[in-house]
């Protein structure tokens, strides 16, 4: 990490831009170029000009490492009384002198925001303003950090080795060995199949026991609609009142963003330029399933961020808490989060806090809820939910037998996010019971900068020759196994067991039928 700093003099239009120019020289020496350098220059120059135009003085700090540039521009200026207003294009308080020079068009802050992968403003009236911008040295809009491992948590001590999870997992990522569940992280897609199937509550989101963090003033809460039906009360208004008591200023339902994604998929289908059915990325685990098991359908995925990822990023100036419906959604939002203001929480964390408040609450107050119900698929569209339903729909789509279907709405939880076993224990009422009037602004969509890619799964070996050798060993092991796919060994199939044997994840003695195999 290299840290650079440059002083900026307020009101000095002759020297304005020099700090950014010096930064450019340093970045060039470090090998930063192309679009990343271009975006860095726009963000730094606009932030520097803000200091020159509005403040007495300021400093530009740049912290550079191999993956990103963190810019911070702090000034001693008047501060910004209304940040929301200042972020609007065309709004400015620049002097006439600045306007005559071509500044003060009210585009500076929006330009910085557009050029940044992460953007934040901290300001105090009469004290000054701090602008933070991060530029990632990769594909714009996608973090290049290490992928977040799907946070499927397991309480192994509860496991009774029933092996239901082993067969429920649509990608064969689970084993039971030595009476303990074993997760193959590389394969897990973060759905809730194991959570739903397990009778002993072994599985959950890893941080579900964590306490609810402090809630800043004006915080926004984003939830799947079914979360309102997760509590023993007769009206969602009661739950909404608790949200207010906990400190959330506003609640919005993630269903709104689902509708925007579906609308975009319809538009794509109508364009006639893309393969149909279009599959909007509503459900991150369903997308991962396509990337893992149905890669031929990747071109059918709309190149958009998922509903939850989009919603989490749509309010960069507010503190946002998002309740993830499944480990996959949790991981996707964490991975793609571009703002420090988004806190992704597991449903259990918020449920605990709500249940504690519900006991003390006696008065039902008026609350505002923003969203509408999800309807049935439109003509020419199809929807599938639940692991089996989605697998069948994808198998059918892969053969081309879906015919004229234009949009395919896939949710790996039966009934959608609202009916996730982590969200609502009463899936029958999770969907229709809490329909409420729609009062929200239309939700947005956000493009993905990085295309969907086939997931490689577990690599047999980093060395290609060794991998090929192991492949032939697996083939040999498969031929020596009974082919019953009984699951007694703790793997979902004899083929999976053979792979486990070769990779050292299982012992020959785990198969009770092996001695009798000819």
């Amino acid at each position: 990490m290299i840290t650079l700093s440059f002083r900026i003099a307020g009101g000095d239009f002759d020297s304005a831009g020099l700090a950014t120019r010096k930064l450019k020289d340093q970045l060039a020496k470090l090998g930063v170029d192309g679009p990343a350098l271009r975006r860095a220059m726009i963000a730094a120059y606009e932030a520097e000009m803000n200091v020159v135009i509005h403040a007495r003085c300021g400093t530009l700090w740049a912290r550079v490492d191999e993956t990103k540039l963190d810019l911070e521009v702090a000034d001693e200026g008047p501060g910004i009384p209304d940040v929301e207003l200042a972020m609007r294009e065309g709004w400015s308080t620049a002097s006439d002198q600045a306007r005559q020079m071509g500044f003060g068009a009210g585009l500076g802050l929006p330009n910085i925001r557009r050029s940044s992968d992460r953007f934040q403003i901290e300001t105090r009236v009469g004290r000054g303003t701090l602008i933070k911008s991060t530029i990632l040295f990769g594909e714009a809009g996608e973090t290049q950090a290490e992928p977040v491992v799907v946070p499927l948590g397991m309480e192994g001590s509860r496991c009774r080795s029933c092996r239901r999870c082993v067969f429920a997992c649509p990608v064969g990522a689970l084993r039971v060995r030595d009476s303990q569940p074993l997760l193959l992280d590389d394969l897990c897609i973060g759905c809730t199949a194991c959570i739903e199937e397990c009778p002993d509550a072994v599985f959950g989101i890893r941080d579900s026991a964590a306490a609810l963090p402090p809630i800043p003033e004006g915080a926004l809460l984003l939830i799947p609609r079914g979360f309102l039906a997760a509590f023993p009360v007769r009206s969602p208004l009661r739950v909404l009142a608790v949200f207010r008591d906990l400190g959330f200023a506003e609640v919005r339902l993630l269903d709104e963003w689902d509708e925007s994604l579906l609308a975009e998929a319809r538009r794509e289908a109508r364009s006639g330029k893309l393969p149909v059915p279009r599959i909007p990325p509503l459900c991150p685990p369903a997308v991962s399933l396509i990337e893992s098991r149905f890669p031929s359908l990747i071109p059918h995925l709309s190149l958009l961020r998922s509903s939850a990822e989009t919603a989490g990023e749509e309010f960069p100036l507010r503190s946002v808490f998002l309740v993830a419906a499944c480990p996959g959604q949790y991981a996707a939002c964490k991975r793609s989060s571009l703002t420090d203001r988004l806190t992704v929480i597991a449903p259990g964390t918020l449920k605990t806090a709500i249940l504690a408040h519900l006991g003390a609450l006696s008065v039902e107050r008026e609350s505002e809820l923003i969203a509408g119900p999800r309807g049935t698929p439109a003509p020419g569209e199809a929807a599938a939910s639940g692991v089996r339903g989605v697998m069948r729909a994808l198998s059918t789509a892969e053969t081309g037998a879906l015919g004229e279907v234009s949009v395919l709405d896939l949710r790996l939880c039966a009934g959608g996010c609202s009916a996730s076993p982590l969200i609502c224990p009463y899936p029958v009422i999770a969907g229709p019971a809490w329909n409420v009037e729609c009062r929200g602004e239309p939700a947005g969509i956000a493009a993905r900068a990085r295309p969907f890619r086939q997931r490689p799964g577990v690599r047999l070996d980093v060395d290609m020759a060794q991998a090929m050798l192991k492949l032939s060993q697996i083939d040999k092991e498969i031929r020596s196994l009974p082919g019953r796919d009984c699951g007694s060994c703790g793997a979902p199939s004899c083929a999976a067991f053979a792979e486990d044997l070769v990779l050292g994840r299982a012992a020959q003695s785990d198969c009770p039928y092996r001695e009798n195999t000819p």
Partner: protein, 116 residues
């Protein structure tokens, strides 16, 4: 299209020739605010504007813009000319207004692309 050829095609006066670096223009962008100009600046873009101050060169230098074209036949400010020479940024002056100059330059570029 070479910046000198484009200047000739739109009947603009070449006040400062391009120094080292790319002299090819593929796009033209006309704007009246610095934010607009920097957001659309690129190493193959000619910026067309009526702004007449040295900050234009700073923007061009930061974004590796090969040239700037002032409009309405205005005389470039001395510090603008001097900064353009130092930075090696070409400086043109067109006799026509922003819209007409931009359109004319864009037509020239698209004609050349069509012939290529």
């Amino acid at each position: 299209m070479k910046i000198e050829d484009l200047a000739s095609a739109i009947e603009a006066r070449l006040v400062v020739p391009r120094g080292s670096g790319n002299t090819n223009i593929a796009f033209v962008y006309g704007g009246q605010t610095m934010s607009d100009l920097i957001a659309n600046a690129a190493p193959d873009v000619l910026l067309v504007t009526s702004l007449n101050n040295a900050q234009l060169i700073r923007v061009a230098d930061l974004m590796d813009v090969p040239g700037i074209c002032l409009v309405d036949g205005c005389e470039p400010a001395p510090e603008l000319v001097s900064h353009a020479r130092t930075a090696g940024t070409a400086l043109l002056v067109s006799p026509t207004g922003l819209e007409r100059t931009s359109l004319k330059a864009a037509e020239c570029l698209s004609r050349e692309k069509a012939h290529a």
